[in-house]
Amino acid sequence: MNENPNIDELLNSFIDGELSQRQFTEVQRLITHDEQIAQRLHELQQCKVLVNSLPSTEAPAWLADEIKTTLERRTLLEPPRRYYEEIQGARHLLLRKVLSAAAMIGLLTVLAAVIYTILAPEGAEEKPFVVGDLRRPTSDITAPKPDLGVVKGIESPKPAIASVVETKGSESVAPVAAVEKSIVFIMRLELETGGLLAVRAFISRAIGDNGLFEREAQAYQNDGGMYAFSCSREVMGVLLADLRNVWDKFETAKLYVETGHGGDEVVIEGITAEQIAEIIKEDGFEKRMEVAKDFAVLNNMHNLLPGKEIYASMDSDKSDLGVIPKPVLTSGSEAIKRVREEIDDSQKVHLTILITGR
């Protein structure tokens, strides 16, 4: 028996007719010249013949019918299954869509947060003031506490400067300083002038001279300016005496005084520096408020009457109202003494001056 598997493979291919013509001729030559190979070929052929001689068995007669019955049965059962699969598929797709949408929203949120972090102006949340309407209750507003500073290199307690805020045009923007309503008398003076530059320069200088403001440059704007500060009545009196020199430049002057009741204000039309000085001269919040209300009524009546007789008589009767002795600084030590003067919080007044050009 030939045990060479390569020869066996060739012989099997020879038997099965799977050889090329050249291989076929070669194997034929081998068979002719080698009896062992011829014997091995015979053995393999016998195997093939034996298997090939096995009788073919026919399928059972019922097989075709059984196949058809099975197919029909499955066809009947198929629609509900498909329907169920379709529902499951639809649900799966819906779930995927919802999850995709949620993921997209999440990504967009993160993206928006990142973009905002990059593009948001620096220090946007670090504004020292809450810009808004003064009529809002101040208790709702939080602002930095007024600080004490250095005046012209001299270390001293300085009248607290609440803020300097720039305004544009007639935009009604009012600062609300860290002024507690219970101890500070809050006023807002709105001025309108034709000579904005000159008036603003004068006011800035007056404020600076009185040690109330050391950062004038920040107050300058093309079409307006705003100054806000808290100080003692005495300092305020000096400032008003200075402002009196330029008062005739104001075309309108309105004073708003906070009543402290639900954001209400007393509005005094055509206010004068003398009237303001008269108001703050009074001791106590209530007395000042009474005087402010009186001036509001008087000034309104004055404006309503064509001849302005009442105002004229008031002026003549109270000619001393406008006389505000302006202190004369004879030396630097006096100024230092003044600013070092301990300010009683209950005597503090807060004034915001808004100037707009016409």
Partner: protein, 201 residues
């Protein structure tokens, strides 16, 4: 090859009609191949009931998946691929059962069959296949010898010597290389010869 080509053309038409829900075409496909499928399955798994069940499963699977038949191979190859795969899977699961059924019939086909087989193997002249087929005991011994082969070798020999497939078709049906088919056939026939010689003693 000419015959195969004609079968393929007919098959393509039947498959197309079957896809369109033509039950008559489906029936014709089943009738056309049921005996050949059953015969091949039976020669691989031996048990008639199992062969019938596997044949039924094969056709049901083929008809249900006829839309997935892409035509890259012939329908004939695809059909036999499914049949042989199902059968080999079945054989792996119940190989022991198949051998037991033969062992129990060992004595029944003993003496007469062994004598006939011995004569056949020792005879140098070529025997008449019809004479072999008529000898039931000899046929049972041959089946027994086939069952002694491993599943892969038996499948190749059945597809080649019973179904008459060429090597390339066998490779496609079993999804193996052509060289694998040759080596399996070579080892299968060698083993079969040895088994039959052992049985005939």
């Amino acid at each position: 090859m000419t015959e195969t080509a004609n079968i393929n053309i007919d098959d393509a038409t039947l498959v197309e009609q079957c896809r369109q829900g033509d039950s008559e075409a489906t029936e014709r496909l089943i009738i056309k191949y049921q005996n050949r499928i059953y015969n091949v399955i039976l020669k691989i798994c031996v048990n008639a009931d199992d062969a019938a069940e596997l044949s039924q499963e094969t056709f049901v699977k083929v008809i249900e998946n006829i839309d997935k038949f892409e035509g890259r191979s012939s329908f004939y190859t695809w059909l036999f691929k499914i049949a042989v795969n199902l059968t080999l899977s079945y054989c792996k699961r119940s190989a022991k059962l198949g051998l037991k059924s033969l062992d129990s019939e060992d004595d029944k086909h003993g003496r007469e069959g062994r004598r006939a087989l011995k004569e056949f193997l020792s005879d140098d002249s070529s025997s008449d296949p019809a004479a072999i087929a008529s000898n039931k005991e000899l046929c049972e011994l041959i089946k027994k010898a086939l069952m002694k082969l491993n599943d892969n070798q038996r499948a190749v020999i059945v597809l080649r010597d019973i179904e008459g497939m060429d090597y390339a078709q066998i490779a496609r049906v079993l999804d193996v290389e052509l060289g694998t088919v040759k080596s399996r056939l070579n080892r299968g026939r060698s083993n079969l010869r040895e088994i039959m010689e052992a049985i005939s003693q």
